[in-house]
Assembly symmetry: C2
Homo-oligomer: 338 residues x 2
């Protein structure tokens, strides 16, 4: 493999001159630059990433910590990963994907060994164990998901409170008076997924404000169970005319459940979910939904992270940004049956 020394020799210049010709950090005569470029082409030279990292203390790699927890609804995760990977590349960075179960150890490893210039954490919990490690690391970090304590990191998340309000308010305006909300499984909440509460509490408040009845329940993340639960909920609340789903698995299960019950949306039941448009398209889910925008969140996190890496504004003010929920209308809401 050719080194910059080889390039220099072939071009008949010193190593430093070759380096400057390539980086453009000092002025170089046109003639020498051309000779260097020719040598690069001839030898097929590519700089050695390790050597460059050592010299510059920049790896041009960002770490992506994704935890795949059992009973998690996996398909959604892929969209975050894709958004992050693609936008990182656009900004000149590669992505080190870490799915190690012990996220704290993994984070410590990749930051301490300086394999990465910064880190994106997915699936951040209310009291995430990885945060203390991240704060002591010398690289910046961006989170997708809102923890209890945001100091020292940039945070991006959907505005789940507003999402809850929008869901309720949309159906209220159409004349609904009794709703059911199906959330993520309870163990997701226990693990610190505060967003479940954020949406549910806001929805409950908004319903109270409007004098509506809102029944809440945790749904399973797997299919036979969540389908049965939906049946049970519809049985238990026969007067409910609207169904809110903060649970992808429940949304995926709903078509069969409705068919089995001989119900149609929106004629017999208005439905609003909370998932990404890509998810809706893949499974042809015909329900209006709050767009969870994983790709957008991922892009925002990466953009901010790279900005912080490159502007060295490590100490600059940190940002907590919520994207406001957008309701994608797929025609599954209407005035309730009178």
């Amino acid at each position: 493999m050719a080194t910059i020394g080889d390039v220099a020799r072939v071009a008949g210049v010193s190593r430093s001159t070759a380096s400057y010709a390539l980086s453009g950090k000092r002025s170089i005569s046109d003639e020498v630059r051309q000779r260097v470029m020719a040598a690069v082409g001839e030898l097929g030279y590519t700089p050695n990433a390790g050597a460059r990292a050592l010299a510059t203390s920049q790896t041009m790699v960002i770490g992506l910590l994704a935890q795949f927890l059992p009973d998690e609804f996996a398909p959604a995760m892929l969209q975050y990963i894709l958004g992050i990977s693609d936008s990182a590349r656009e900004l000149g960075y590669d992505v080190l994907l870490v799915t190690e179960e012990d996220g704290t150890r993994a984070l410590k490893r990749i930051t301490d060994s300086r394999m990465v210039d910064g880190v994106v954490l997915l699936n951040v919990a209310e009291d995430d164990e990885r945060l203390p490690i991240l704060r002591t690391a010398s690289q910046p970090g961006a989170l997708v998901g809102l923890p209890g304590d945001c100091t020292g990191v940039d945070v991006f998340d959907l505005d789940f409170e507003e999402a809850g309000r929008v869901m309720v308010e949309t159906l209220h305006r159409l004349g609904h008076r009794e709703l059911v909300l199906v959330s993520q499984p309870e163990h997701v909440v226990e693990r610190g997924g505060a967003y479940v509460w954020r949406l549910q509490n806001a929805a409950t408040e908004q319903a109270a404000l409007r004098g509506m009845v809102l029944h809440t329940a945790f749904g399973a993340a797997q299919q036979p169970e969540v389908g049965r639960q939906l049946h049970a909920l519809l049985d238990a609340h026969p007067r409910a005319t609207g169904l809110l789903l903060n649970n992808e698995a429940a949304a995926a299960a709903l078509p069969s459940v409705l068919t089995e019950r001989g119900l149609r949306a929106p004629q017999d039941l208005s439905v609003i979910g909370r998932y990404s448009d890509a998810f809706a398209r893949t499974f042809s889910l015909p329900y209006s939904s709050i767009e969870s925008a994983p790709d957008r969140l991922g892009r925002m996190a990466v953009r901010q992270l790279v900005d912080r890496i490159e502007r060295k504004a490590r100490a600059g003010p940190h940002v907590v940004r919520f994207i406001s929920p957008e309701l994608v209308d797929r025609g599954s809401t209407a005035a309730p049956r009178s």
Copy 2:
């Protein structure tokens, strides 16, 4: 950040002695080793990955090239990624995930710059453009998916021919005489996804051998279309008693289609799919299926790759390994209605 020089100073030894104490590559007195370890603990020393890579020409990172093509059925990809990431970590490697659209350029970049010790290619096409690049690279590569030319790489794939035969033979034994096979979308085939042909041709031959009728069709990868196609196919072949699905989206769509037609599996129609058990569980697909085993394939690829990296047996004989299809019985096959 502490360097090995700091460790050496605190321990009162030379840098090389500290290095040997940590690597164990030369004998070191217990007393010195303890002093070095104490210094490591005190300073929180972690070796710098770039420096180590430069010195040893080993990065302990493997590249994972995954192409996310439009109209691909994405959820399946995640399982490959997970299997690969997890098994890599178990073997001491991290994973650089590359989803760049231009796979050849990405591959060239990460191998030439020596960011990785080896590479796993997903979604390998019959005539994959990335293969020539991989062959000229100095790192070994493992593929998931069978290309036309396997020289210089290790290849792992499901035995799609056998899968096709097993599907047909299973229904033949039960007494079926007319089947429909729904494959992946045609553009997947055009892009070089030869596995579609492998399964379909073998199924066709086996059917001919048994004197059965086999209708074949390409199904869409998205939902409203594939559901309509399934309806059309069942309309077009009313005497068919068995349905074979080499198309995840079709499998996901089938429950609603059957419900809409008032059919049940296996009473009215026997069904065999080809997807992973994890996929079946997530979407509660009640159909027997050929296990596509993405995690197992990923693990095999990584194991072989790491073996080749570490045994430096770059020139050793390359392997093309097919895993034999296992039919997971979920009770969706039975003798046809007489």
